[in-house]
């Protein structure tokens, strides 16, 4: 069964169409990667899947665990079992990271132990729990805080928007090891530019987003290799964009 299916999805933000005719699905237990140049719409696709109201669905549908969620409010989608680590989360003055974590889950004792464990694994000091979330966090600290939140949630579909960007070598190892262990066998949608995190997480499939549309889908490592070698220019040449079948990957 597919955990997530996106069908013919077109999305508008502030009057501009930023996603066009997106089709893809993630079978349960698979890890899918989303590649694409800056501004191609990766984060927007994630926010649309989450149901952020600014991302207006013009046409198409989204299914999660077989249920249509296209018009469902964000919190209900999350309660259904999706979790996300954002690329650029906002600082929320006055709201502590620990408060969010506690509010996210019901069973307190178990949660505290679980959070304690993830903090330790991430090598993330506990005093971050008493800080206003993302307020004055460094780039790497923000990543860890996002990963901590999404792992604490233990969602059925984990969405990671650039968990490896701006992270130093040692912390990449730490984050990679934690994600590898905790996401084993889970369904994941992952955005990465340089693919560092793919040293720790085995991806089944990748999709390349070019200017708001999926230009091709195929083996994650093959596509990454191609992107690292030639940049996205190879993708612009891709016959699929011109409405033909992509010869290389499909």
């Amino acid at each position: 069964m597919d955990i997530l299916t996106v069908e013919d999805l077109s999305v508008e933000v502030s009057g501009r169409t930023i996603l066009r005719d997106i089709n893809f699905s993630i079978p349960e237990g698979e890890v899918h990667v989303l590649f694409g140049p800056n501004g191609s719409g990766k984060s927007s696709l994630i926010k649309t899947i989450l149901g952020f109201p600014g991302y207006k669905v013009l046409s198409g549908s989204i299914f999660f665990k077989g249920k249509e969620i296209t018009d469902m409010p964000t919190d209900e989608r999350v309660k259904l079992g999706m979790g996300v680590a954002f690329q650029n989360p906002p600082a929320v003055r006055g709201v502590k990271l620990g408060e969010i974590l506690k509010g996210m889950m019901r069973n307190r004792e178990e949660v505290e132990k679980r959070i304690g464990n993830i903090l330790k694994e991430l090598n993330f000091p506990t005093d971050f729990l008493t800080r206003d979330v993302n307020l004055g966090f460094s780039g790497g600290e923000t990543k860890k805080s996002e990963i901590l939140q999404v792992l604490a949630q233990d969602a059925d579909l984990t969405i990671l928007d650039e968990p490896d960007s701006g992270v130093d070598v040692e912390n990449l190892q730490v984050i990679g090891a934690v994600l590898s262990r905790r996401l084993k066998g889970k369904s994941v949608l992952l955005v990465t530019h340089l693919g560092y995190i793919l040293r720790y997480i085995d991806a089944d499939m990748a999709h390349v987003l070019m200017d708001g549309t999926i230009a091709c889908s195929g083996s994650a490592l093959k596509i990454l290799g191609q992107i690292l070698k030639e940049g996205y220019s190879w993708c612009e040449k891709c016959p699929r964009v011109k409405g033909l079948r992509c010869e290389v990957f499909l």
Partner: protein
């Protein structure tokens, strides 16, 4: 009484109910409940001293045995009779003719409290005072004097409120604070009025060498209109003042709260911090005025306002005036509604929109700006949480 005074007195009555003196624990249930809502508790053991005034009557004034000889608490009429020298402190920082309300308080004066902390005494428990209005449509004018002798330290909680049956009235409160060399006074004033009550506190503080004055103000309940602009004169070298306020305006409240810091001493420091939430049709003006008169002085003003309804308004008016080189004055102000991206972020963690808003609002009313001891801090936090929970 001048005709002008007559005009601010307007339709308010000067006929107060007489209250006999009585220990706190024997007060009527509803009075106790109201006083507790403004931080005044009936367990006198938890407070170093207590002063309670209802309408124009002094109902209770006592220092706990353990603190006798360290502090003094009296109604101001008695205090002025007992101490001739107190005239030197009376109407010295606030002028009788400053405005129609000070004139009113001068001509029709209804007690108030005198607190003195003796030299070198560091009082561990807070002192408390409660000023309550129990008669509908009453005018109550109190005049308070607080003297912290050199190197003394004290924490004072003042709660001002009305009986649950009172809807309208005029409360004028003149307070003069004298914080002498090396002394420290933390003054926390909690107000809880009713929709038709008018409130005019008129306060000023004189802060001497190495002394610190922290003035906290919390107002969470509707009021008809409330206006105050206390002034602190940081006259001494290394004198310090902080004005912190937490305001929650609901209903048709009109709240105009400011603070003025005058930096006169070398190394004097000032800080004005406020958090204001306006909902329904409330209007909140948050002012601050920093005046740098010494070349080595510094002050900062910080105002954050949050609008919870389109009918509400917050107007932040920060003013900085440096009169000499080397006076460093700064401010930051931010007023707006709850940021949508913050709500969505919390919703992406599974909180409903309402839960997300209430988390943000609760966090916004940051009691830590008051710098209070844990117990008091959590008491005030609880009051704020109750207010915001009801509002959302």
């Amino acid at each position: 009484m001048s005709p002008k005074t007559g005009s601010v007195l307007g339709r308010y009555s000067r006929k107060a109910q007489e209250w006999p003196s009585c220990p706190l624990s024997l007060l009527p249930e509803d009075v106790l409940k109201r006083s507790m809502e403004v931080g005044v508790i009936s367990d006198e053991g938890e407070r170093a001293a207590t002063y309670l005034q209802i309408d124009h009557s002094v109902v209770f004034q006592a220092v706990q045995d353990a603190f006798k000889g360290k502090i003094e608490i009296l109604n101001t009429r008695e205090a002025l009779k007992r101490y001739g020298w107190l005239r030197e402190y009376w109407w010295r920082l606030v002028k009788t003719d400053a405005d129609e309300y000070t004139k009113l308080a001068d001509s029709l004066w209804d007690q108030g409290y005198f607190i003195r902390v003796f030299e070198g005494e560091k009082v561990t428990l807070p002192l408390q005072s409660c000023l309550l209005m129990s008669t509908e449509n009453l005018n109550q004018n109190v005049h308070n004097i607080i003297i912290a002798e050199p190197r003394s330290e004290a924490h004072i909680i003042t709660g001002c409120t009305v009986h649950p049956n009172v809807h309208s009235g005029l409360h004028v409160g003149v307070s003069e604070f004298y914080v002498k060399e090396g002394a420290k006074v933390t003054f926390t004033m909690i107000h809880s009025w009713a929709q038709e009550v008018e409130v005019r506190p008129r306060s000023a503080a004189l802060i001497e060498d190495g002394a610190t004055f922290i003035s906290n103000y919390v107002c969470l309940k509707p009021v008809k209109n409330l206006q105050m602009y206390p002034t602190a004169y940081c006259r001494g070298a290394s004198s310090r003042v902080s004005f912190n306020s937490i305001l929650y305006g609901a209903g048709d409240s009109k709240i105009d709260v400011g603070a003025k810091v005058v930096l006169q001493g070398e190394g004097s420091r000032g800080e004005v911090v406020s958090r204001a939430i306006a909902t329904d049709n409330a209007q909140i003006y948050v002012r601050g005025f920093l005046l740098g008169e010494h070349g080595e002085s510094r002050a900062h003003l910080e105002c954050r306002g949050l609008l919870l309804s389109d009918g509400a308004m917050i107007y932040a008016i920060p003013e900085l005036l440096a009169k000499v080189r080397g006076a460093e004055l700064s401010h930051e102000a931010a007023v707006g509604k709850i940021a949508e991206d913050q709500i969505l972020y919390l919703m992406a963690r599974g909180f409903s929109r309402e839960e997300a808003e209430s988390l943000i609002v609760r966090g916004f009313m940051d009691v830590s700006i008051l710098g209070l001891p844990d117990k008091l801090s959590s008491d005030i936090k609880r009051m704020i949480d109750a207010t915001t929970a009801r509002a959302l």
